[in-house]
Symmetry: C2
């Protein structure tokens, strides 16, 4: 038998997994390092070996969140027969994620009081990059930055809709209506028709 049951070299991963669950139940305000350590069966000082402070844990959670959302986006794109269907599925995956893990989403897009570490920004960049795959190849006459504008507008709109649902301001069903309306608006716009090519 061993006095260190499972967390032998993987305490960091265990803490992150537990923290993600705790985030869903008590929110980021209620997330406590000491409680996390207790649940993991280690001393309250143990997390220090993996996260320099509480903010470092929150940043790691945000980074992990971006990577998970990126995977969800990629998987939504896979097998979509057109850019239009791909975008509709990505939009739904995006909003689903943001509602299911509202506190995590807030962490990912939180206003930076201090400077954000590079790892989080890079993970955000990977999400941004995944959206390229939905848009198809870049056209020859495409204006500089038009694709970026479209991608950012897409992300901003989905995140805004999800925030309305997560805050209880509107019902989930109305959120779906907004997603449909937003996608029609985005894809049928001049910018959308210029930028989203078929594939």
């Amino acid at each position: 038998m061993t006095t260190r049951p499972f967390h032998h070299g993987n305490l960091r991963a265990v803490l992150l997994e537990q923290a993600e669950g705790m985030l869903r139940t008590v929110g980021s305000d209620g997330l406590s390092l000491r409680e996390l350590a207790r649940q993991a069966g280690v001393s309250h000082g143990a997390p220090r070996s993996h996260f320099i402070d509480r903010q470092a844990l929150l940043d790691a959670l945000a980074e992990q969140g971006f990577d998970r959302l990126t995977r969800a986006v990629r998987s939504a794109v896979d097998g979509a027969e057109s850019a239009r269907v791909g975008f509709d599925r990505v939009a739904q995956a995006y909003v689903d994620f943001a509602i299911e893990d509202a506190a995590l989403m807030e962490l990912m897009f939180a206003a930076k009081t201090g400077a954000r570490p590079g790892a989080v920004q890079e993970a955000a960049g990977r999400l941004f990059g995944a959206l390229d795959d939905v848009m198809g190849p870049s056209g020859p006459t495409m204006a500089d930055g038009a694709r970026d504008t479209f991608k950012l507008l897409f992300g901003a709109t989905m995140q805004g809709i999800a925030a309305l649902v997560a805050s209880g301001r509107i019902a989930r069903a109305q959120g779906d209506v907004l997603v449909t309306a937003a996608m029609a608006m985005l894809l049928d716009s001049e910018l959308g028709r210029e930028v989203v090519t078929r594939h």
Copy 2:
């Protein structure tokens, strides 16, 4: 002379004003009731007479924020010669507010872990109502809910753009580009042309 310099019957207002400033510098995580009491020159138990707990103070801040944003929206609409100009000005005011007071904006649209008190939801409703004034009178052939869909989409998009800027993901200038693109998209869309009448 008096031992209670200024806070005599208005401690609540003083605490709220200080808290709003504190929110800008340290964020909502760093907002401490005891520090607030210290700055106001009262004992650490004094805030309890006005806010039952920390969450009650945060809710009061959110409510106050909605009312201030509502005033900003109303003032942006005043004197606008057309719905189009009105919406452009409202959009700018909205994003300005959200960037200047990013932490407050997060509080206003935060995911509800517990139930939100009615006062906050009502203040949010007043903001929503102010947007009606920008849209002009409702047309006779207008589909049910189309106006609501448009208003919500407008708010969601602006909030999403502001979150991208506030989180340092994009620069302020790029945020302005997104606002312009979003307004063109919204107003030129089928929904927009149906819903925004001239006045």
